[in-house]
Symmetry: C2
């Protein structure tokens, strides 16, 4: 019950993107350096974010990635699900399970409630907020 490393790095990468001016194209090595992420791994993560239409890739000399939407419209849930797939707290909640107990299991309903709460929590935090806080934290670090 833990975020994967890929999801943790995806969150950091999108925070950095959201700190840039609207429409900015950013390259992977810059994001990796600024957010302390291994560059090769981050490249693969951004391919997932591209497939999920959270970023778009630009080819050529000035190529890189840009966000496809306003960071205020993008939440922790969106970025985690882009990398890990739909959040499901238990295997019986992923839509593919054929557990023998599914039809009557009372515990499954509680896990579904807990999951819905978790998803709602993750939707509370958008990347405009996270980027704003990251900027403030960095400014605080540089002028103690």
């Amino acid at each position: 019950m833990k975020l994967t490393r890929a999801a943790d790095y995806a969150i950091r990468g999108i925070i950095y993107m959201a700190m840039q001016p609207e429409g900015a194209i950013v390259v992977i090595p810059e994001i990796a350096r600024e957010m302390c992420i291994p560059v090769g791994f981050l490249g693969r993560i951004f391919q997932s974010l591209n497939r999920a239409a959270i970023v778009i890739s630009h080819r050529g000399k000035k190529g890189g990635y840009s966000l496809t939407r306003d960071p205020a419209q993008l939440t922790l849930k969106d970025v985690i699900e882009a990398v890990e797939g739909n959040i499901s707290l238990n295997v019986c909640l992923d839509g593919y399970s054929n557990c023998e107990r599914m039809a009557f299991c009372p515990t499954r309903k509680h896990l579904a409630d807990i999951q819905n709460n978790l998803v709602a929590e993750l939707e509370k935090y958008d990347f405009a907020l996270l980027a704003r806080e990251e900027k403030m934290a960095r400014a605080g670090e540089k002028t103690p």
Copy 2:
């Protein structure tokens, strides 16, 4: 961000234990059969539950496992943590991380809040409740 199979089976196993009269000693093959769990895997899971002092093992001809406490004092959180270790939503919250960003990362604080909420949710459900509901669900199945 999903329960392991071991945690899922541990929850089922403890529900079955909690359905029995106080102090009852139950054998693994019976729990496995009643709760649709592979018997070998369940044996290993109960060793973890034993180490976490949630069940105690009894040797001999009438050997097996019994609960160490009132099911009303045992929550989903306890049983999940016995099998998976302390719940930590991200690697930076497990107490062992040395992430370079830890001292100032604003996102870590939000993940900690989300985690605290998740833990509080898991603490809401005790095994007296889950066992009572399981009994009702089974009775409903048998007398439709």
